[in-house]
Amino acid sequence: MAYSAEISRNNPSCFLFLIDQSGSMADTFTGEAGKKKADGVADAINKLLQNLVIRCAKEEGVRDYFHVGVLGYGANIGPAFGGALAGKELAPISEIANSPARIEERNKKVDDGAGGLIDQKIKFPIWFEPTSSGGTPMCQALNGVKGILQRWLGQHPNCFPPAVIHITDGESTDGDPGQAMSDLKALSSNDGNVLLFNLHISSNANAQPIAFPDSSASLPDQYSRLLFDGASVLTPFMRSEASNHGFNPSEGAKCFVLNADLVLVIQALDIGTKPSNLR
């Protein structure tokens, strides 16, 4: 059965983030007034990496269940980590955990156990700052990801299939990326095909947040539809996890969200018993 390989330190899987850093990302998006799309991208990826690290953390440190890469595209295409990770296509998750650019303290509302909410200070690591310049060479960037994953799959033929998390406003400037997305999804390990998640950050005034739709009918424009069409279909395990988190994805639901949170993707990977009362 596909998508059933154990994710372990002996058989790690791979996350590749592909982030749009083009000039158009300096525009505001419809999620929050005055917030630039580039800020939305930086927030999304920092939050996804934070969640991934915490999921792999144990008392002795961070277990390398995943190798992680971040490829940026805009004026340039290439690995987007800075600091100690600069220039690396992929790094074990433990290295990422220990190399954030800085750590902010933020307030988070948490349940006080008595029906109310209290502010709790949490540590929020920052790996990425917002960036926006140049065109949107999406096709070329997708082909770059394909090259990285081909090498990874050659070395890890039995892994749980790699996941590509693509965060963009969808406005490709080097042609229709449909074929490049199909080529990427055609890559596979013995356990199934590469999973492509598209997170669309949109400035379109009609863009209502949507998560894991099974049809493009309610999407606001051609950029959304293109990213919806290119995304993989959610695996059965991911669908059941999504249901546990209050979504109700149908069998054909896609790995696509519009101006919405993708953290569920991190939660929906099976690395061991996860209590239902762990939130």
Binding site: S8, E59, K123, G272, T273, K274
Partner: protein
């Protein structure tokens, strides 16, 4: 009155992990052959992979249960000292940002407790009572038949996200609906097998395929060494790769 018990725990960590990463727990720690007791309590627990220091929590729970310090009728209140103990243990030294965030969510474990009581009869029969949160299970065997199973009874009931006992009080808010208790009678020559989820799920699948898996459990560490047997089941993909604990309790 007393009863004569033979009991032994067997365990193995997940394949690919070192022994120190074993996160199940059991109590009592020592095996006993033929000791006469009026009352004896056993417990196993399975710390959740997804949380940190869950093995420490599982150990605290089994020990506390067997010493009568977890009250099934007042579980949340009686857990508070253990929860404070866990927080003290993990707060001893500064930790990296991810470890701090992980600990903020607390840790989690199953628990399964079984008490055998010789009562006032002739030592040939008596009462048992059991307590469980999560998917660690026991089966009660008499004359080559399953007399009862607790708290689960078939392989389809296992999933990867059971409700577990948390080290943060707010994680256990709805605990009342997840606590399971049971009671029954034992007779001499009965056997109880307490198992964490991977082995219990294998057991129920075997039964559903008309097998007699208790015969294998009966022979373990006698004709059949435990660890190679589990490793063989893993190789044949008949059991999920997870920590495994078996507590075998035989009544003479």
């Amino acid at each position: 009155m007393t009863m004569r018990l033979f009991y032994e725990a067997m365990w193995i960590q997940k394949a690919g992990s070192p022994e120190e990463e074993y996160e199940d727990a059991f109590w009592p720690r020592r095996s006993v052959s033929g000791e006469s007791r009026q009352k004896e309590t056993f417990a196993i627990a399975d710390g959740a992979t997804e949380s940190s220091f869950s093995g420490v929590w599982a150990k605290q729970l089994v020990r506390a249960y067997c010493r009568g310090r977890i009250d099934p009728l007042r579980t949340n209140t009686s857990l508070l000292p253990k929860q404070r103990g866990w927080a003290r243990f993990v707060g001893r030294k500064p930790l990296p940002w991810y470890a701090e965030e992980k600990i903020r969510n607390g840790t989690f474990s199953t628990i399964l407790g079984l008490t055998l009581d010789a009562g006032s009869e002739n030592g040939r029969s008596g009462a048992w009572n059991a307590f469980a949160v999560g998917d660690s299970c026991f089966v009660h065997i008499r004359d080559e038949e399953i007399l009862s199973t607790f708290p689960l009874s078939n392989a389809a009931e296992f999933n990867n996200s059971p409700f577990l006992l948390g080290s943060n009080p707010e994680s256990n808010k709805d605990i009342e609906i997840h606590i399971q208790t049971a009671k029954g009678r034992w007779e001499s020559e009965d056997t109880f097998y307490l198992m964490t989820d991977a082995l219990a799920a294998w057991f129920f699948r075997e039964v559903e395929d008309n097998g007699t898996p208790w015969r294998s459990l009966r022979d373990l560490n006698r004709d059949l060494p435990f660890r190679p047997w589990i490793e063989d089941l893993r190789t044949k993909k008949q059991i999920r790769n997870d920590d495994v604990t078996l507590y075998r309790i035989e009544i003479e």
